[in-house]
């Protein structure tokens, strides 16, 4: 599951930095923007079965690969 999330992130950001540094801030660094966020939420729904409504999403809680993995794990 962790790999699935990282695959999704790597695909969306077009960068393997999300694999190398699991604490990188994907928004500060411009790796992901709002559009990418929406895509990520849709992919997480499709591939990991977690349903995250847009208003549940808060940047400060999802801004690193580690945080995203933790969130997905907690929702499964």
């Amino acid at each position: 599951m962790k790999d699935t999330v990282l695959d999704i992130l790597e695909d969306l950001t077009g960068s393997d930095e999300v694999r190398n540094d699991l604490d990188i801030d994907i928004f500060e660094t411009g790796l992901l923007d709002s559009m990418g966020t929406v895509q990520m939420l849709l992919e997480l729904q499709a591939q990991c079965g977690v349903d995250v409504p847009v208003s549940e999403f808060e940047r400060t809680e999802w801004n690193t690969p580690n945080k995203i993995i933790a969130k997905v794990e907690s929702m499964q």
Partner: protein
């Protein structure tokens, strides 16, 4: 009866200091005096919406009742069902007073609507945000006292910053630990002091001292001139220091009341591109539009596959966002052009960022390119403010 608009007058601050003192003492000793807080909030609201502005007061009361009915009505409905058309209808009803207030002057020869009142936009954003979170199932219950305190939170009622229900409630229900509250007071003092410098010194200098003179010179010259450029920069500085000053007051007073209202500005003029700019300028508004309009629209379009290209979806998303923002400022040609201008700017910015990503190695990146980026962004933004100011209307069409 006396009427005072928030933060315009040093006397207002004296009244705040007196009124908030018991609250400060309470919080220092780990207690919220909720009854006192409610009374003092009511008095400050009365101060702003009473006296000569009593019609606004009536409009405000009517509006709050209307929005509360919608919120509780939708909440009750949502407990059982979740049809989209009910949600859409509720949102439309919720923004209807604001839409009426924005359109009325266009229909009535410039006369303002009687249902309008100071802060109607910001209250509407708060209410609509709640309705959307009820739809998403994130908000499952709403306490009456809590929602009233949230919507009518007096430090931010006139022009924000725009807070969100769950975040506000988190602060409101708790009492900060003493050392945390002392830190908040410390920041509050600094913010209020900085707000004074911004609003009563710098905005005064740019907006009251310099701007009228530059305006007169530009109008005397007529058409395009260096005076118009001077107007552009002066107006931009005035706009920033005035609004940032106000926001600092609102946040500072919130902090004194133990509520960490989010900040509105973060050094916007050092933004490296227009996307960065909108993460620094009027942040609570920008993020509200991003979260409640852009992301929901993009989510909907992607899920229903309305357009094939994700780039097209992003473009349409931004166009919608900024057009709404333009219209929200007013149904006037220069506000709408302002919206369109930013929509085009941010879509071009996205194009540039995609290009940069693909050609990372070939594009230089150093102190000079960064300075150039900041310079370009600053000017793109200032020109948008020139449009926003309506001065071009005065210059060319009046």
């Amino acid at each position: 009866m006396l009427n005072m608009q928030p933060y315009q007058d040093p006397t207002y601050f004296v009244l705040l200091a007196i009124g908030l003192l018991p609250i400060m003492v309470g919080l220092l000793y780990g207690r919220r005096f909720r009854v006192y807080e409610t009374i003092i909030s009511f008095l400050f609201l009365l101060l702003t919406f009473g006296g000569v502005k009593w019609q606004q007061g009536v409009a405000l009361i009517g509006y709050i009742i209307f929005e509360l009915l919608l919120i509780y009505g939708y909440l009750a409905y949502r407990k059982r069902k979740n049809a989209s058309w009910i949600f859409n209808l509720t949102v439309i009803l919720s923004i209807l007073p604001l839409v009426i207030v924005k359109i009325a002057p266009v229909m009535n020869n410039g006369r303002e609507s009687i249902i309008g009142f100071l802060g109607i936009s910001y209250l509407t954003f708060k209410a609509v945000g709640m309705i959307m979170e009820i739809r998403d199932g994130i908000i499952k219950e709403v306490g009456l006292s809590e929602v009233v305190h949230f919507l009518l939170f007096f430090p931010t009622i006139s022009s924000g910053p725009i807070d969100r229900y769950r975040r506000f409630l988190g602060d409101y229900k708790k009492v900060p630990a003493r050392d945390k509250y002392l830190a908040l007071l410390d920041k509050a003092m600094w913010y209020i002091f900085l707000g004074f410098v911004y609003k009563f010194l710098l905005a005064y200098l740019f907006g009251v001292v310099m701007l009228p003179k530059i305006s007169a010179l530009a109008l005397a010259h007529g058409g395009w001139s260096w005076w118009v450029i001077a107007y552009m920069y002066t107006y931009s500085m005035d706009l920033f220091f005035d609004f940032a000053g106000y926001s600092l007051f609102a946040v500072g007073i919130s902090y004194i009341m133990g509520i960490q209202t989010p900040m509105n500005f973060n050094k916007p003029f050092i933004a490296k591109n227009i996307k960065d700019f909108w993460n620094r300028w009027h942040m609570t508004l920008s993020f509200w539009f991003r979260d409640y309009i852009y992301m929901r629209l993009v989510f909907f379009m992607m899920k229903k596959k309305l357009l094939k290209s994700r780039i097209a979806i992003a473009n349409v998303g931004y166009l919608t966002l900024f057009l709404i923002m333009g219209f929200w400022h007013g149904v006037t040609w220069y506000y709408i052009v302002y919206g369109l201008y930013h929509a085009v700017a941010i879509n071009l910015c996205d194009m540039w960022l995609r290009f940069k990503k693909r050609h990372k190695e070939k594009i230089p990146h150093n102190k000079f390119t960064e300075a150039l980026a900041i310079f370009i962004t600053f000017n793109v933004v200032c020109f948008s403010f020139l449009i926003f100011s309506g001065f071009l209307n005065t210059l060319f069409f009046a």
